[in-house]
């Protein structure tokens, strides 16, 4: 497996140690998938040399939404209300377009109470990495079904789920998302390049990461359990993320790889594993998800990619400076302008 090379030094490009990216100790259950994702976020932020002071981390409510406290302590964090992280993130990115945003949400937070906001942040293409830690259950309220629980899924206290699951990657694609990926918390080698690519993406990048809840939904017959996913994971490709400053050194046979260049010049190199999938083909992406559903497999990897949409800040025609930092003279028009308006109203 080819991964991007990490600087051999203990310090990253901007001279920070990995410990500069850590968060508080987690209070989640031992073995919770969410904690592995936090670990990958730390690793990726370190490897990319993100400046933590320039990052904002946001979440809604749930076990998953607690995780921003467990990474990047040097970044401003905000734990919003249930299902409404997207709107808060949108506001923050309107206020300061020069920040890097990562949002962490759960399947309940995004797929149930927050489905509307999820679709609308995508519609507006607010630049951010949007991670869904998808365990098919409400962890924090102790094991109720969520919108991504599979039809027929069994839960200890709640019996059988009668309703079909919402596929959040499908929802993302049909809402106009330009970066849609699915992965598994137990596969850090795949999570990392996808997260890196998401950070390079200039728009809303959605990562739906299956993240087992060891306490309420880790039965082998649940399609969000460690065991089931290991048995049914069907990775689309071997993924490498190549940052701008690096040469592509991955040694694939010509013809079996596809490279996608991102806004900042970084590249995602995809080595085909199973079947043909062109992630830039929207219809193919939709078909792929549908086929995975009917075949009862978990297709992981970069499912859809389209860098062509304007971000919300561009659509709104905003200045390049952060609105939050505009000097007073840009905020208050001069006196003579008001005099003119007053005269026109007399």
């Amino acid at each position: 497996m080819a991964t991007a090379t990490v600087a051999p030094s203990k310090l990253n490009l901007i001279g920070l140690d990995k410990s500069d990216y850590k968060g508080n100790p987690s209070t989640l259950c031992a073995g919770c998938g969410h904690d592995s994702i936090s670990a990958q976020i730390i690793q990726v932020a370190f490897e990319l040399g993100l400046k933590p002071e320039n990052v904002i981390k946001l979440s809604g409510i749930g076990c998953s939404s607690k995780s921003p406290a467990y990474f990047l302590n040097r970044s401003h964090g905000l734990n919003a209300v249930h299902g409404r992280m997207p709107s808060v993130a949108s506001g923050a990115m309107l206020a300061n377009r020069n920040l890097t945003a990562i949002g962490v949400s759960g399947d309940g937070d995004t797929g149930s109470i927050g489905l509307g906001q999820f679709k609308h942040i995508i519609r507006r293409n607010v630049p951010m990495v949007y991670v869904i830690e998808n365990n098919g259950v409400y962890g924090l309220t102790k094991g109720q079904f969520s919108a991504t629980s599979d039809e027929g899924q069994k839960l200890k206290y709640y019996g059988d789920n009668e309703y079909p699951a919402v596929d959040l990657c499908m929802e993302a694609i049909v809402s106009g998302c330009g970066f849609v990926a699915r992965s598994f918390a137990g596969d850090p080698k795949q999570v990392r390049p996808l997260l890196k690519a998401a950070f390079s993406f200039n728009g809303t990048a959605v990562l739906d990461i299956i993240s087992p809840c060891v306490t309420f939904n880790n039965n082998p017959d649940s399609n969000k359990s460690y065991e089931w996913v290991r048995d049914h994971d069907s990775p689309l490709h071997d993924i490498s993320f190549v940052p701008v400053r690096e040469e592509i050194t991955v040694d694939y046979e010509p013809g079996e790889t596809k490279a996608v260049t991102m806004h900042d010049g970084a590249k995602i190199v995809l080595k085909k594993l199973a079947g043909e999938h062109d992630p830039t083909d929207r219809m193919a992406a939709i078909m792929l998800l549908e086929r995975s559903r009917t075949d009862n497999v978990l297709t992981t990897g970069l499912i859809y990619y389209n860098p062509d949409r304007d971000t919300v800040q561009d659509s709104e025609g905003m200045v390049a400076t952060a609105l939050a930092l505009l000097p007073d003279e840009k905020l208050r028009p001069v006196r003579s302008t008001l005099e003119k308006i007053v005269a026109s109203l007399c």
């Binding site: 933590p52 904002i56 406290a69 709107s87 506001g91 509307g116 952060a322 028009p333």
Partner: protein
């Protein structure tokens, strides 16, 4: 014989009438969407141009086309601009309501109607003026598809002739209305003139109402509160607005967008602001809080149903201490209520918004001018106190035309509140929720502050002075107490009450918002009948100590408000339990702006008890 009876006797005798000059209301009944709004606005502005104090109120239904609407214009040489209980001059442009409108016309009144209106005109105590609407618009110059619309210009011309509105004032008003676009002016003016001339040739004036040029509007503007609020916000440095359309608040966002797009752009056309239409009010307030957290001067505008949707987030904003401004242009509730009718019923919903213990700063503009002022001031207050701040206007103030003194350029520099820079963090450290200055207001940092110790974690759940998660009872309580102190200490720093003390008066009146003109008029009438009153108009909650002093100095204090429960009175009573019995309700909700007559009736009847 009563005045009315004698007037009627005069009419019947064809005798000479006492004239009523510049002191009457005129009501135009029409169907929503028929285009009468332009005509009505032209009439209002023409009267204003003639120097006559005037106000225009649109009483409209929740409907785009077809349902009845009434536009009331009051001219008053004394300068009163409140609604009057009835209008002695009516224009019956809506056949659907014509019978009722005519039946409601007071004896001695005047009725203008299209000559093809099929209606029983047997009432003998009113003056009738038929108008040839069809005839004057069925001419080649008026395009067929515009005939209904332009038909409304016929009553403009006829009224002008009969009531003596000057043609030059009408022309100026029309020009203003169409923003100087000659094509539109030329499409309408000929019909006004034709009607004016037709009336000169065909109508013999038989009524007593007319207007006459004065000089009482110089130095005033004619504008609505929402435009003022939007403009004030633009001068207040609003940088992020997220909103969701809802009557009667939509025009605030629209006006703000229009003003911002000319006033707040860089030379290259890029905007120094963002105004985003959210998917609902829940998302709107989420965006506003996210933006406020990240350092924008952020705001939203909505009405009662939107306030209801925002509740959870408002408590979050209070507790996480995020600046935000929420305009509530109040309309009748609960629920969808009467969406196009006025109310002051959201005081509780805003002052105590959200679950848990909250009390939010509320600004209460009582005039168009204050809408402008609170537009910029609210953004300062929100950042100063790091909290959601409400501005409660209402449909009457927000959407109707009011005479107002010119807006005053902000008198204070922009206040960004306690925000630490990286250098300050380096020098003094940073503790997000520590009360360093003893005023309950802690220091904050903005995301992006370039210092490793500048960050903090914002949460609605329990946190200590360093923004760390906690469930310790002492810490939770301590934080709530600091928050309460912060809001309590704002009392004397918010817009102060406006007080008019009358020496020796035993009766006090307290009001807020759009009832001000009706209260002013009521007090004049009461004084004339020997009843002395003092008046205090509240402009913010929590209210200043001077409100308590005011109540203490009067035996009985009437709290005037457009809601059924007397929400302001209940809030004040909880502020001054020892004086609670002195506070008496003058409150009611029927969807109509208060009249002086109603307030007087309430006070008089309670005084007799």
């Amino acid at each position: 014989m009563s005045v009315i009876q004698s007037k009627v006797a005069d009419i019947l005798a064809g005798g000479n009438l006492g004239e009523v000059v510049n002191d009457f209301s005129l009501q135009i009944a029409s169907a929503n969407g028929s285009g009468s709004q332009t005509s009505n606005m032209v009439l209002v502005r023409a009267l204003f141009r003639m120097g006559i104090p005037v106000s225009g109120k649109n009483l409209f239904p929740s409907n785009i086309q077809g349902l009845p609407t009434w536009y009331t214009i009051r001219c008053s040489h004394a300068g009163y601009v409140a609604r009057q209980p009835s209008a002695p001059v009516v224009v019956l442009m809506n056949p659907e309501t014509a019978i009722k409108d005519l039946a409601g016309l007071e004896s001695g009144g005047v009725c203008f109607y299209p000559d093809d209106l099929k209606i029983d005109l047997s009432r003998q105590d009113v003056t009738y003026y038929p108008m040839p609407v069809k005839q004057l618009t069925s001419v080649p110059e008026v395009p067929r598809h515009l005939r209904t619309y332009i038909g409304n210009m016929v009553y403009v011309g006829v009224l002008a002739q009969v009531l003596k509105i000057e043609m030059s004032a009408l022309e100026a008003a029309l020009d203003w209305q169409f923003g100087g676009r000659t094509k539109l002016v030329n499409a309408n003016l000929p019909t006004i003139k034709a009607a004016y001339e037709w009336a000169a040739a065909n109508i013999t004036k038989r009524d007593q109402y007319r207007v006459e040029r004065m000089n009482a509007t110089a130095g005033y503007m004619l504008v609505d509160g929402n435009a003022a609020g939007g403009l004030g916000s633009v001068y207040g440095g609003m940088t992020v607005t997220a909103w969701y359309p809802i009557t009667p608040s939509t025009s605030l966002a629209d006006e703000m967008s229009a003003f911002a797009s000319t006033l707040r752009r860089d030379p290259d056309g890029k905007a120094n602001y963002a105004i985003v239409q959210a998917e609902d009010e829940l998302a709107a307030i989420g965006m506003v809080l996210g933006a406020g957290w990240a350092g924008a001067r952020s705001m939203t505008t909505t009405s009662g149903p939107g306030i209801s949707l925002m509740q959870e987030f408002l408590g979050f904003g209070y507790y996480a201490e995020i600046p935000a401004v929420i305009w509530d242009i109040q309309r009748v509730g609960p629920s969808t209520g009467m969406p196009t009718r006025v109310s002051q019923g959201d005081l509780f919903a805003c002052y105590y918004a959200s679950h848990g213990d909250t009390k939010h700063i509320c600004l209460l503009p009582g005039s168009v001018n204050e809408c402008f002022e609170f537009g910029w001031r609210s953004l300062d207050i929100a950042e100063q106190y790091q909290t959601p701040v409400f501005v409660l206007s209402d449909l009457d103030l927000g959407m109707n035309q009011w005479m107002t003194k010119p807006f005053e350029y902000p008198t204070e520099p922009i206040n960004r509140g306690k925000v630490l820079t990286a250098e300050q963090v380096e020098k003094n450290g940073f503790r997000r929720y520590a009360d360093i200055d003893g005023d309950g207001i802690a220091y904050r940092t903005l995301p992006g502050t370039n210092h490793p110790r500048a960050s903090y974690f914002t949460r609605g759940s329990g946190h200590d002075a360093d923004a760390r998660y906690t469930e310790e009872p002492e810490k939770y309580r301590g934080n709530l107490e600091r928050l309460r102190r912060k809001i309590e200490l704002s009392r004397e720093h918010l817009p102060a009450p406006v007080v008019e003390m009358t020496a020796g008066a035993k009766i006090g009146i307290i009001g807020f918002g759009s009832t001000d003109p009706a209260i002013i008029e009521a007090r004049d009438t009461l004084t004339a009948s020997g009843v002395q009153t003092s008046y205090l108009r509240i402009r913010a909650l929590p209210s200043a100590a001077s409100v308590v002093d005011f109540v203490r100095s009067h035996e009985r204090v009437y709290v005037v408000e457009i809601n059924a429960d007397g929400q302001l009175r209940l809030i004040l009573q909880s502020d001054m339990p020892e004086l609670a019995a002195r506070l008496r309700p003058v409150c009611m909700l029927d969807g109509m702006p208060f009249t002086a007559a109603w307030i007087i009736g309430q006070i008089n009847s309670q005084e007799q008890k």
